[in-house]
Symmetry: C2
Subunit: 374 residues, 2 copies
């Protein structure tokens, strides 16, 4: 045991020290590598901000033990060093503000055999209230089952109610599902879902940005919701009260530019109140079937390119710097990143971050001559 490579040990140490995302640390790592970053943290040779953020746990070094533990459970620590790091998915976080909680994960602790990038290549988040009704569980099972059969990975939070029904339905049809936890992957939370989590890890993945041993906490559930949205092509809320975690996941999806979808239900059911209000306020689009979901969240190539209306609508969805960059592209022909930066007035580093997102979303393409409009 503990024959871990030093780079990975450094990642594990850093993950434990910050317990979550930390953009300045990510920047430091990307500048000097994880080992030097870990040394700087350990020696508290840091900017005052980073020192404040890391000093409380800088003395803890459970890296080898954490890696051993996860390995013993059949898991691993996935970092931006790895090919399977879902970098395309997580690029959308670069489009957000610079707030501490707006960033992608530093690294991901994973139980399961499949590569994370493959698992999340076509993924739908399905979330909802823990206090699901029979109707909600039934609809979730139909929806998740139909999507999983069509090859979509079902991403959710492993909570009771809608989350659990979504995971179970995917497993039930032999499909793929990913559970994102607000605690270490060594913990079964909720405890009643221990067996379910084992099953999920058996064919899909159980994921957390927190190292083994981390206990669930309210703010970690919110951070977890951001990963459910971040790892998905779109988020479906099946049943939700007005103030529910599912709405938080939905608002993450919206910020990340992913479609937010909601399933209606009887207006006599309190469990559908949140979905109805989201639809009514224009925060979510109504979906009634897996077909509707795929229409909204599926690859643009399927519908969008033949459909001027939906393409136009999606262009309307671009805003801020993304729109500036898009508008800087010529009507025909291509343009390089530097030219696009000059033309759009957007800093070149941001242009470099935004273009792959625009490409994933089907707005732009690239070849050896540069970037062009689709």
């Amino acid at each position: 045991m503990s024959a871990h490579d030093r780079r990975l040990l450094a990642w594990a140490y850093l993950s434990k020290v910050v317990l979550g995302s930390c953009p300045p640390l990510a920047q430091l790592i990307s500048a000097v590598g994880p080992e030097d970053a870990a040394r700087a943290v350990r020696e508290r040779d840091l900017s005052s901000f980073l020192d404040r953020r890391t000093s409380a746990r800088a003395h803890l070094d459970t890296a080898a033990r954490d890696l051993d533990l996860v390995e013993a459970l059949g898991g691993r620590l996935v970092t931006p060093d790895d090919e399977e790091w879902p970098r395309w998915r997580l690029l959308a976080f670069d489009g957000l503000g610079a707030g501490r909680d707006d960033a992608g994960p530093l690294a991901l602790w994973v139980l399961g055999q499949r590569r994370i990038d493959d698992l999340t290549a076509r993924a739908i988040g399905i979330v909802g209230t823990r206090a699901a009704t029979g109707y909600g569980e039934h609809v979730t099972a139909e929806l998740a089952g139909d999507l999983a059969v069509e090859g979509w990975t079902i991403v959710s939070g492993a909570a009771f109610g809608i989350d659990g029904a979504a995971h179970r339905a995917a497993l039930g049809v032999g499909g793929l599902t990913v559970a994102v936890l607000a605690c270490g992957v060594d913990r079964a939370y909720p405890a009643g879902h221990g067996r379910l989590l084992q099953q999920i890890a058996g064919t899909g993945a159980v994921i957390s940005e927190y190292p083994p041993g981390t206990t669930p906490a309210r703010y970690r559930f919110l951070a977890r919701n951001r990963l459910v949205a971040g790892l998905s092509d779109g988020v479906v809320v099946v049943e939700a009260g007005w103030r529910s975690g599912a709405r938080n996941t939905a608002s993450w999806a919206r910020r990340l530019g992913r479609p937010v979808l909601a399933v209606p239900g009887p207006v006599t059911s309190a469990a559908s109140t949140g979905c109805h209000r989201m639809i009514r306020e224009g925060e979510a689009r109504l979906v009634a079937s897996a077909k509707d979901v795929v229409e909204e969240a599926g690859p643009m190539g399927v519908d969008g390119e033949q459909d001027g209306v939906s393409l136009a609508r999606d262009l309307d969805a671009l805003s801020g710097e993304s729109l500036q960059v898009y508008d800087a592209l010529p009507g025909s022909g291509s343009r390089g990143t530097r030219e696009l930066s000059v033309e759009s007035g957007v800093p070149i580093a941001r242009v470099r971050a935004l273009l792959p997102v625009l490409e994933l979303d089907g707005f732009v393409g690239s070849d050896e001559t540069g970037w062009f409009r689709r």
Copy 2:
């Protein structure tokens, strides 16, 4: 009997001859009066179009008998001559195209004691499938009951299913309700609703643009739907299949600039398919309660004037000539109709027709100096 005034007899004759709306005839009547128009029709002294439209029944003169019959049932023929003619409501038809089926009614046969303009001053259309589920009937009863208690008249088509539940709920709370028929008001259609129609006429009104004796026909149901929409501030669809009469009523409401609202239901229920698709396609706004309905269809003064967002949204809803006329109004101060016509390029007759609609919708006001923006 038959001591009817000659002008009313002429109206009754013309209503029987055209059996529905007929813009050229309405124009002729407004130019020469009903008696001369009736003489021209009887003597077939008409444009070829009008002759074609009236020749088949020009020889029928059941006017006195029809008036007697309706009077015996406690009813009357209401025409644009009458103070109670719901002219403000029906003005919206002037904003439509010139197609034969786009016009307001020539006259209305009415059973019931109340004035039609009063009855429809605050009115919500509630429509839906005849094959309603228990859920649909329950929600209709709640919605119609709550609205009726708040003083809204419930307008519907007296069909089985949602229509019947809407009328009954209004009656049940001692509220007002109007049934618009696709046949003469002397006919109980559907037959199973004979007693219900009597009750409706007892406190509200049973209305038809067709003279007594007219039988229901498919195109008359479509024309009837246009009146349900035309007499309402907004239309709520409770349950509807995709190809249902309720959707037709909704599309009339949309054309008339009235809010189209739809109640969601279980996605597992075929009866809610039409509602879900209308919401999904942006054809209707989701409503889950009477409060939601009033928010959408209520007078702008209640919400709109304090709420910049909703006012802006409603201004966005203006289009075509209405917008031209609105834009021709000065930012402050007022302007006369002739000036507005010159300024907007909209013919003065249309300006005269559109301004009262804009006023009703809360966009403009008028005083002795002319018209001004609100």
